[in-house]
Amino acid sequence: MLSRTADNLYWLARYVERAEYLARILEATQRLATLPLDYIGSSNEWASAVATAGCAGAFYAVYEEANEENVTEFLAFSLNNPSSIRSCFEAARTNARSVRTALTVEMWDAINGAWIELKRFGNGPTNRDELLRFLRWVQETSMLFDGSAYRTMLRNDAYWFSRLGVFMERADNTARILDVKYHMLLPEPEHVGGPLDYFQWAAILRSVSALTAYHWVYRDSVKPWLIADLLILNDQMPRSLASCYSNLVDFLDRIGEAYGRQGPTQRQARAIRTRLENSKMDSIFQSGLHEFISEFIADNNRLGAAISDQYLN
């Protein structure tokens, strides 16, 4: 297939995934920010939302203060922010138009329908009810798109490149949450966690839609090191780094097999997966959770660049 087509499919999937991620962050933050201060302490949840979205620099170039209004506007509706939900949908549709021939009707319908619907939200909801409906709609749109791709695409390179986009973006998103929140996840044996921490932890789980999953996996009350385990090493959890990488390796292998040639991307992805497979939470904590995450983010970025080099340019 054309490199440009593969590139468009890959980014289309990334943009939709990113939009969903932003919606989940905003929803979790909204929920946390409405709790009485006694429960969440004095930290600024909105500032932390900007940080997990990975656009603190761009945000503070425009705004002085991270509050509900500014952050919601910036992350959800601003066209000045190339990573806002709206910008993601705009970019996704532009990409989709460029590769109309590589999309199924159902996928096009999902993305084009969302783009039309988005116009009805105008410059953004005027109250919290509407905002919440909007955020839910964004998540549903992403699921509709993803489900359409899953159910209707031919299982060939077009599908595999679109999957690569999903899992590259997802790995990056989960890693960024961990990067911002890691200090809350450090094990402190003497500290069993007061109500204050519980809500912070629950918010982390919500932002990767894993609160229920947590209970099923661990059958335990919410403990920070288990959250870290769930998000990093647990292969059952679809947004964990481990799960993202077993998918990335799988899809890269299929591409390599179909093209009859392996390259740096296959090797790099396999190396990262092996590291995740061989890690234990204990040793990660010992050698430093933050260092581990930073290294992962750098590795993930390198893989992204390698995919571009090998296939998309």
Partner: protein, 488 residues
């Protein structure tokens, strides 16, 4: 899309619409045979059914994203082309004449282009004036003496046809470069079959859905002789900002070929390749929807970012086929149009089956003085104008406009032709007041491959939605209809 070509206007005289030939109803109020089924069906229809279906169609069109960009209207962005749910119906007998006429016309066009870039017998015979060719900006000296596979230049033609009365079809314009609109022909039929299954069950309508299949066969049949037995064809588009982009993606999708932009292609040692995820892949046939000027910055406009550097050199080396060929503009120029009857006779030795609209060439002194004298009754068109812009409709224009045009005409008469205002035929159309007659034209699509010429029955009917309006151009408020050729 704006039909990128020229076309489009036709004109009732100052004459009122009631004088125009209506394709459904004769002047005494009787319904013509072809429309009997539609008439009966309409009479049995609940009152707001058509309006409901019309809205349904609009929703579908918007969702599939059949939109077109309007140049020069920043906020308009993407617009829908209005779709009229009432079909235009043509009988098999009428179509047979039109089809034969089209095939003849395209054979003549190909023979003429081959001659212009070859032996130039028609110029030596003094039938077409030399300056019309050599001073024409669309003449491509690069094509002189250039062989093209099977001597085919115009693989895809869109010939615009208007109807004046029961027996007379005129060719209004030939489009021999990159005619657009075929995706609307196909989508209109799909939508109609979805909305009105009952109406279809009452008629035997000749299908159009095999067009993409025919097109692909046509493209592959003209691959360079050196290409493999299964040549690779691609569709070259200027990209998503082009007004016809939807059509490009639609066709690529239905042909199952890659939709490429200039940056996806590169030329190495006079061979064209596309960049794929598996490395470079050779390209044999390019269905290009980019004008000559933008094809290759090394050969034509150096500022063009849309094209492929070196493409022309690969083409001249015979390593890739371009459809349509480079330089076909000399066949669809409005001034050349007026010579088509003579061109047909000269190359084919046949009388043209489809007539031209009578045309005055302002380059000829006698014609010019006639035009200046009768300008109030005539339609004056710029020879290179397109999209219904740059023309004067005499009966509809005020004194100032006419005076201005007269001055332009005197200054550069060779830039203009003039035609009488014709009473263009009308078809019943859904408008605000209900069902009313509106002027229509027809663009059938003619494919020419190595072994044969094929014309899908029907084509794209364009309709002027405004009462009395003669402009059927999509960039100026025209709509489209499904076109039915009934099996007899």
């Amino acid at each position: 899309m704006a039909w990128t070509l020229h076309l489009g206007v036709v004109f009732t005289a100052g004459a009122s619409m009631s004088l125009a030939f209506d394709e459904m109803t004769s002047p005494d109020g009787a319904v013509r045979g072809a429309y009997a089924g539609l008439d009966a069906w309409l009479k049995g229809l609940p009152p707001d059914m058509l309006e409901l279906r019309r809205r349904e169609a609009e929703v579908i069109f918007r969702r599939i994203g059949i939109t077109f960009a309007v140049y020069g209207e920043a906020e308009a962005g993407e617009r829908l082309i209005p779709f009229d749910v009432l079909p235009r119906i043509i009988t098999a007998k009428e179509w047979d004449i039109v089809r034969r006429g089209l095939e003849q016309r395209v054979r003549a066009l190909n023979a003429y282009i081959k001659d212009i870039y070859g032996r130039r017998e028609i110029l030596r015979a003094g039938i077409v004036p030399e300056d019309l060719i050599f001073q024409n900006p669309v003449f491509r000296p690069e094509m002189n003496g250039q062989k093209v596979p099977h001597d085919i230049y115009v693989h895809i033609a869109g010939i615009d046809i208007v109807r004046i009365d029961a027996d007379t079809f005129y060719v209004l314009e030939d489009n021999a470069r990159t005619p657009s609109g075929v995706s609307y022909m196909l989508e209109n039929r799909e939508i109609m079959m979805r909305l009105f299954p009952e109406l279809f069950s009452r008629h035997r309508v000749a299908p159009v859905e095999n067009y993409p299949n025919e097109l692909l066969a046509t493209l592959k049949s003209v691959a360079p002789l050196t290409a493999s037995s299964d040549p690779t064809a691609v569709l070259l588009s200027p990209g998503i900002y082009n007004s016809a982009y939807y059509e490009h993606s639609f066709l690529a999708d239905h042909l199952g070929i890659e939709l490429v932009e200039g940056r996806d292609l590169l030329v190495k040692d006079d061979v064209v390749f596309m960049r794929t995820t598996e490395g470079l892949k050779r390209v044999d046939v390019i269905y290009r929807r980019i004008d000559d000027d933008f094809l290759d910055p090394l050969a034509f406009r150096p500022d063009s970012a849309l094209g492929v550097p070196g493409l022309m050199s690969a083409y001249q080396a015979g390593n890739v086929t371009l459809a349509n060929a480079v330089g076909t503009g000399i066949a669809d120029d409005k001034a050349v149009y007026s010579y088509m009857p003579e061109i047909t006779k000269f190359f084919l030795g046949e009388e043209p089956i489809l007539k031209n609209v009578p045309t005055w060439r302002c380059r000829e002194a006698e014609h010019l003085s006639y035009v200046l004298e009768h300008i109030e009754e005539l339609v004056v068109k710029e020879v290179h104008g397109s999209g219904g812009y740059g023309m004067l409709i005499g009966p509809r224009s005020d004194k100032n406009t006419i005076a201005n045009f007269r001055a332009k005409l005197k200054a550069t008469p060779t830039n203009f032709i003039a035609q009488p205002t014709l009473a263009l035929s009308t078809c019943p159309t859904c408008v605000e007041e209900g069902i009313a007659p509106r002027h229509v034209d027809l663009r059938p699509f003619v494919l020419t491959g190595r072994d044969r010429i094929s014309v899908v029955p029907g084509g794209l009917t364009r309709v002027a939605l405004k009462k009395g309006s003669l402009v059927v151009n999509s960039s100026q408020g025209g709509g489209t209809k499904d076109t039915w050729v009934l099996d007899s």
